[in-house]
């Protein structure tokens, strides 16, 4: 089993990795910046916009992490670079997402991300990842104003194979070990302008020029899907990966509602209508600044452009031709006159709403089963509609307060090739189940797993305790040989592509205590003690007399009070 697992590691590693020897020799480190926007119609008439701002710096990652006393950052954001260097990070991926990407209708996303926040990082081999991780989490939450501080050891994971480094690999040892990896997700995190504004500050041109001009918080957040990303990776500078630099890629994916017109069968959008801002210039710092529009995303729908693009081309994506029109902002904006660009508008021919797109090969969906406050279960459905067997990695991460029972794991259709399970420890570690599955062709596999709910201490409940607790999205990772449904700007330049799919996060309610209970309990216990003590105390300090005598005494006392007895006596 172990041998098989390593095969996988090697396979996944082989996808991106170009093993390199550190070459510390360098002159003046070069920085290059490029920005790109990719727009396309989705099958349900929505419009997706994918921004990618990437800065490549030819400084070697090891030199980047140990800059010594002097470091010249140039246009590379210093605040982020300092964090990366201080915590000895090799790779860093942070996404902040609002909404769930609908893979069934929209195809695969360009930058897959689960709803909420996701942060994962690979540390440099010499780093003590245990020690650096909390600091990194804090620094990143400070950098982007996100509430990442909620990540603690009980919500951090070290998946064995699902999250391999995306960038160049710096040393051979780390490719086989996940000791340097930390993964955490916060499905509850909400994303807003307070995260977006610090993110735009990392852009060399900010929101003043180039594609950043389109950013207006109101329109970006009034949409169906919104995902901010920050990806820092070691980057190969040449084909053989003889020289390695670092790359910072800031991504933003937005899905806008269908741009309907008065004629319901015609959809039409322009940058101005979607973003509420015109595009007036290119960022002079960027060596390339482009807007790309895909014109035949949907079969049977022709898309016409109001302007002639600088470049048109067809890329072959998994045997299917994709026509793309590229607008080069540098050539469109005359450098001497800063006139607004001619507005670009895109309209469709008669839109066929009823035609459902071909379903992507792989789909995942997960839901909660069971009723009551004791037992519950997770049920996952993985569909493989490809005519061949697909091997996938399935990663499930469940908080410790759900007592997972591994013997209840049942898998139908799919075959479990290998399994890696890390059981939880109360308050310190969560459950992690990583399965390698083989999905038969044209099949739907079901996984189910049962759990019991544990009782939390009353101080462990979060504010708004009745909201419930989240279970992270399950992650499906696979290597696809061809990807007809991928949203990608570049043509497939690699033979293999790593595809990651995220299921829905689950919201589970736990038995919630009555929070005034501690006081009630204190009162109850105190009263019981007081009663017990009182009766014992009375027994020891009061005189016990025969009941009859007491009665007589009482009677005589009453009589005397009335005056009968005393009269008699005096008589």
């Amino acid at each position: 089993m172990a041998a098989r697992r390593w095969d996988w590691v090697q396979l996944l590693t082989a996808v991106f990795l170009h093993l390199t020897l550190p070459c510390m020799c360098q002159g003046r480190a070069e920085q290059s910046y490029s920005e790109a926007l990719f727009m396309k119609f989705l099958a349900d008439g929505r419009v997706s916009a994918t921004f990618d701002f990437s800065t490549v710096w030819s400084v070697h990652p090891l030199l980047f992490s140990n800059p010594g006393n002097v470091q010249h950052y140039g246009i590379f954001p210093k605040s982020l670079a300092e964090v990366v260097a201080h915590y000895h990070v090799q790779e860093l991926h942070l996404t902040l997402t609002q909404g769930q990407w609908r893979t069934r209708v929209w195809g695969y996303p360009a930058h897959p991300a689960p709803p909420g926040a996701e942060l994962w990082a690979w540390f440099l081999p010499e780093a003590d990842s245990e020690k650096e991780w909390p600091g990194l989490v804090d620094a990143m939450s400070g950098l982007l104003g996100a509430h990442l501080n909620a990540i603690d050891s009980a919500s951090s994971f070290q998946p064995l194979v699902s999250f391999r480094p995306n960038g160049a690999i710096l040393s051979k040892d780390m490719s086989n070990s996940s000791a340097l990896l930390r993964y955490a997700a916060l499905p509850r995190e909400t994303v807003c302008t307070e995260n977006f504004t610090p993110w735009t500050k990392l852009l060399p041109c900010g929101t003043a020029a180039g594609l950043g001009e389109l950013f207006e918080a109101e329109s970006l957040y009034d949409c169906d899907y919104h995902s901010l990303g920050l990806h820092f990776t070691p980057h190969c500078l040449d084909d053989g990966c003889g020289q390695v630099g670092v790359r910072l890629s800031l991504t933003l994916t937005v899905v806008f509602p269908p741009p309907v017109t008065s004629n319901p069968s015609i959809l039409e959008w322009s940058l101005k209508s979607l973003f509420h801002r015109p595009l007036t210039s290119a960022c002079p710092l960027a060596f390339s600044s482009t807007v790309t529009v895909e014109t035949n995303s949907i079969d049977g729908v022709q898309v016409s452009l109001s302007q002639t693009p600088s470049l048109t081309g067809t890329v072959e994506v998994a045997g299917r031709r994709r026509d793309r029109a590229v607008f080069d902002l540098h050539s469109l904006t005359n450098s001497t006159t800063s006139k607004p660009l001619p507005p670009l508008s895109v309209s469709s021919s008669s839109w066929a709403y009823h035609i459902m797109p071909e379903q992507p090969e792989l789909l995942v969906s997960r839901h909660l089963v069971g009723s009551g406050h004791d037992w519950g279960g997770l049920a996952t459905e993985i569909t493989n509609s490809a005519p061949h067997t697909v091997e996938v990695l399935y990663l499930e991460m469940v908080p410790w307060f759900f007592r997972l029972y591994l013997h209840t794991l049942s898998v139908s259709q799919a075959t479990v090739l290998s399994q890696h399970y890390v059981p939880a420890k109360d308050r310190r570690r969560a459950h992690m189940l990583e399965l390698r599955l083989s999905l038969p062709p044209l099949s739907t596999s079901y996984l189910s797993l049962q759990f019991r709910r544990a009782h939390l201490k009353w101080t462990e409940h979060k504010p708004d305790a009745h909201h419930g607790f989240y279970i992270n999205s399950a992650v499906i990772t696979t290597v696809l040989s061809e990807c007809p449904n991928c949203t990608s700007l570049a043509a497939q330049d690699q033979d293999l592509a790593v595809l990651r799919l995220y299921s829905e996060p689950l919201l589970v309610s736990l038995p919630t205590p009555d929070f005034s209970m501690p006081y009630n309990v204190i009162c109850f216990v105190c009263t019981v003690i007081a009663i017990a003590f009182g009766s014992v105390f009375n027994l020891t300090t009061r005189t016990l007399q025969p009941a009859a005598a007491a009665k007589e005494k009482l009677l005589t006392r009453i009589l005397r009070r009335i005056g009968v007895l005393s009269k008699q006596k005096s008589d």
Partner: protein, 582 residues
């Protein structure tokens, strides 16, 4: 009848015994409640407070706060007469008695140790030669002849001339002074030594500053100097930023690597500067920063902005500065590139003077670079770094309080050192910063202890205890080193003491999270779930919880013990009365 009496007596005895039993049992319950219950309650609800060395810290407050400094003065009297030299030495020693600098309650004592300078005969020959040659022009050569000196150790050369000519004092760039004087007068030597060893004014304000008295509010030139300087810290982050104009398509470039290596690094690597603090240098480029200013056209053809519009300009850049990982104070130096449409751009102060740079006290400096000529878009602007960088170095000197050699009194010649800084002046700066650090650390410790003393239900974790003890130990060690004349080591220790004494927010968060290892980050500590455990309850809530237990138990105990006491007194008095009646 007898039987009846007997029965009654028996009944009385039974009743008495019964009474005795009741009262004794209620008294014993009271005893148990007082002896066991109360201490138990007290112990279980106690707040965890590690013992702190209170008395030692209070001693610090009373002690002559910063350490007493000991300087060694080695004197060489160039004369044939042995007795003359000896008498000069003893005269000098008596004149240089302990000198105390006072600022409020704090004071520093300077002690001087005068000893003869031991040199080889041939070296003395050469010195004699150098001194006599050309009436002192050869004196700078002395630097090479005298033994290498350390901070706190000074050499004094006295040439005794009988001829009545105006005496002369030369203070060398390294730690020596040459004095040509007539015999019998040591006054010049005393003045020279004092001016070389101590800058009284600087020591005073640094003492006050550390005491949290705030920098003096006066308006003199010395006071602006005080206001300008950064506070003593273990290290500084020097951050150079190029701020490019927002409305130009021209790209801006600067050769920062070269400028740093050639201009900034030699200054920071100067031993006198490097030992003050650790410096880290970083540079970055900002494009498209909206500077929020509106230049006006001046008569001479250029443009200017008034100095009042500078603060918003700084704030617009500052939102992007700042570090997420380091707590060291940062010194920011900005190069603002004037927009080509508004070039040359200068700053006009209220008096009408024009300049292209300004210094922001305790923050950094700004230089406006105006690209030559009206640049058209698309061209590259290259910032001339030589001039900009030398302005930055000068600003950095001012911010750090590096003294610049200038002669003050007539008859005294000051030798200029490398980069315009002399060793003895750098020593003064070092001593000043040590005094400030010690003073700050002491104040921090005292106020921490006062706070903990005042708020009784605040937890004192072991971490705080450790930090306080460490800081105290470092302070005491620093006192000892300064007393031994090891000034450089004393400075390092005083800075460390300042950090552990809690001038950083780190220690304050330790206050909030007990029993944990030092948190690597303030935020971790602040948002640590264990902080909930610390919620101490206000008194009304405390009583709401205590009353259901305490009231029903304590009322019967109190009432019955009152009866018991009454019984005790009455029985003893009845016994007494019985005895008296008998």
């Amino acid at each position: 009848m007898v039987q009846e009496v007997q029965r009654k007596e028996e009944e009385g005895a039974v009743e008495g015994r019964e009474k005795w039993r009741q009262n004794i049992s209620s008294l014993s319950v009271l005893t148990v409640a007082v002896l066991v219950g109360l201490p138990l309650w007290w112990k279980t609800t106690e707040v965890y407070r590690s013992p702190l060395p209170y008395s030692d810290i209070q001693n610090l407050a009373g002690q002559q706060a910063p350490p007493s400094l000991v300087y060694t003065i080695s004197v060489l009297v160039l004369t044939e007469e042995e007795t003359m030299a000896a008498s000069f030495l003893s005269n000098l020693q008596t004149e240089l008695a302990n000198h105390t600098v006072r600022a409020g309650e704090a004071e520093v004592t300077l002690a001087f140790l005068v000893q003869p300078l031991e040199l080889d005969a041939e070296v003395i020959e050469k010195v004699n030669e150098a001194v006599s040659s050309a009436g002192g022009t050869g004196v700078p050569a002395l630097t090479t002849l005298l033994p290498a000196s350390a901070p706190g150790h000074y050499s004094l050369l006295i040439a005794v001339g009988d001829k009545p000519r105006p005496s002369r004092v030369i203070i060398g760039a390294e730690r020596w002074a040459f004095i040509h004087t007539t015999i019998g007068s040591v006054q010049e030597a005393v003045t020279a030594v004092k001016s070389m060893v101590v800058d009284e004014h600087q020591l005073k304000w640094r003492l006050e500053d550390g005491r949290g008295k705030g920098r003096s509010q006066g308006r003199g030139s010395r006071d602006t100097e005080e206001m300008r300087q950064v506070r003593a810290a273990q290290g500084y982050q020097v951050c150079l930023t190029l701020v490019a104009p927002d409305s130009s398509l021209a790209t801006v470039d600067w050769n920062i690597e070269d400028a740093t290596d050639r201009v900034l690094m030699p200054f920071l690597n100067h031993p006198g500067i490097a030992r003050l603090a650790n410096f880290t240098i970083s540079s970055q480029v900002f494009h498209y920063t909206d500077l929020k200013f509106s230049p006006q056209r001046s008569k001479s053809g250029g443009y200017y902005v008034s100095s009042t519009s500078l603060p918003p300009m700084i704030s617009s850049v500052e939102s992007k500065l700042g570090s997420l990982v380091s707590q060291l104070p940062s010194l920011n130096f900005l190069v603002l590139v004037a927009p080509p449409t508004h070039s040359p751009l200068l700053i006009r102060d209220p008096r009408g003077a024009l300049t292209d740079n300004f210094l922001v006290p305790q923050w950094g400096g700004v230089v406006i670079f105006s690209p030559p000529g009206e640049e058209e878009g698309g061209e590259e602007i290259v910032v001339r770094m030589e001039k900009v960088m030398s302005v930055f170095v000068r600003q950095l000197q001012l911010l750090l309080g590096v003294p610049i050699t200038s002669s003050t009194s007539p008859g005294v010649v000051l030798e200029r050192g490398t980069l315009g800084m002399t060793e003895w002046q750098l020593d003064q700066l070092m001593v000043g910063r040590m005094v400030e650090s010690v003073s700050t650390a002491t104040t921090a410790l005292i106020s921490l202890v006062e706070l903990l003393d005042k708020v009784k239900n605040m937890v004192i974790s072991d971490v705080i205890q450790k930090e306080v003890i460490a800081s105290l130990g470092q302070l005491q060690e620093c006192y000892r080193l300064a007393g031994d004349g090891e000034l450089e080591a004393a400075l390092t220790l005083s800075q460390r003491a300042m950090v552990s004494a809690g001038t950083r927010p780190l220690t304050l968060t330790h206050l909030l999270v007990p029993h944990s290892s030092p948190p690597p980050h303030t935020e971790t500590a602040f948002f640590d779930p264990s902080i909930l455990e610390l919620l101490y309850f206000p008194d009304d809530q405390k009583f709401a919880i205590y009353i259901p237990l305490f009231l029903p138990i304590s009322i019967p105990i109190v009432l019955s013990s009152v009866t018991a006491f009454r019984w005790l007194t009455s029985s003893s008095s009845s016994r007494h009365s019985l005895r008296t009646s008998n």
